[in-house]
């Protein structure tokens, strides 16, 4: 089941407190990967990986600032993510309502 393993590896990298923190620090786009990495008790390579995941998700971009590259949070993307999560919440609230109705219905049948 390589598909399960691949997906699991992808998701293992998600939902991480470090990544949330990087997104917050990169709001004002003052630091590059090296400076960002200095904030965390982990390897430079590990932070580089976190930033790559955020880049792929569209949540940060790297941009040139003079001679160096800084990491900037994409606020529009963050807003978009927020709006989509609101829609996803509505989807699940609908599902929970239907689950609740189904449980109530089966209780009636038992009676």
């Amino acid at each position: 089941m390589t598909t399960v393993l691949d997906a699991d590896r992808i998701f293992a990298a998600m939902a991480d407190a470090t990544r949330r923190d990087i997104v917050l620090r990169a709001l004002d786009a003052r630091e590059g990967v090296v400076e960002l990495a200095a904030h965390y008790p982990m390897s430079f390579a590990a932070i580089q990986k976190h930033i790559a995941v955020l880049e792929r998700a569209g949540l940060v971009t790297k941009e040139r600032d003079g001679r160096r590259k800084v990491v900037r949070t994409n606020i529009d993307a963050l807003r978009l993510a927020r709006g989509l999560l609101d829609e996803y919440e509505a989807l699940w609230r609908g599902r929970i309502d239907r689950m609740t109705d189904l449980i109530a219905y089966s209780k009636e049948i038992e009676r």
């Binding site: 997906a7 998600m14 999560l85 996803y88 919440e89 689950m99």
Partner: protein, 168 residues
């Protein structure tokens, strides 16, 4: 209130929703384990789901499609990562071709379901969803689910674009 908590993290592209039911964990597990019950809640009334394969065991595969108001079908699948009845289910949810084989052009999202008993015969269920990208979220929502919310927004935009602006 059935839904007791919702936690959304736009920076991590995750949502955790917690709900409580007046039922046992076994009864709540049945909502997932019995495909005929699953069909009655997974899709909204306008996009009902049909489950054509349903092996809820680690490494198992689930296939389903949702049928829209005009008869068009959206196919999906789950790869079951963990299944521990009646407490825990972890699955990867993806898009499929019409023959049920996974469509790898679309990203997958992951669902982690935890079911636990609480006081007085009630049960708490939490579902944690993780998305690999914003695009993945858009695609899941555009699948026609939940009255096609995302599509509806696009239609409104189209109507507005077509409406001539009259000066007062």
């Amino acid at each position: 209130m059935t839904v007791t908590a919702v936690r959304k993290d736009p920076a991590a592209l995750t949502m955790t929703l917690t709900a409580e039911f007046d039922a046992s964990p076994e009864r709540v597990w049945q909502l997932w384990a019995d495909p005929r019950q699953l069909e009655r809640w997974w899709g909204p009334p306008t996009w009902p789901a049909t489950f054509t394969a349903h092996d809820l065991a680690p490494g198992g595969h689930v296939e389903y499609h949702m049928t829209g108001p005009t008869g068009d079908e959206a196919h999906g699948f789950w790869d079951v990562v963990e299944a521990d009845p009646p407490r825990r289910l972890v699955f990867v949810d993806g898009f499929a071709h019409d023959d049920g084989t996974p469509n790898d052009e679309f990203p997958r999202n992951e669902g982690r379901v935890t079911i636990e008993p609480i006081a007085s015969g009630r049960t708490r269920m939490s579902i944690e969803s993780r998305f690999p990208s914003i695009e993945a979220m858009e695609q899941v929502l555009a699948m026609g689910m939940e009255e096609g919310l995302t599509l509806a927004v696009g239609q409104i935009d189209a109507i507005l674009a077509d409406t001539p602006v009259h000066s007062a």
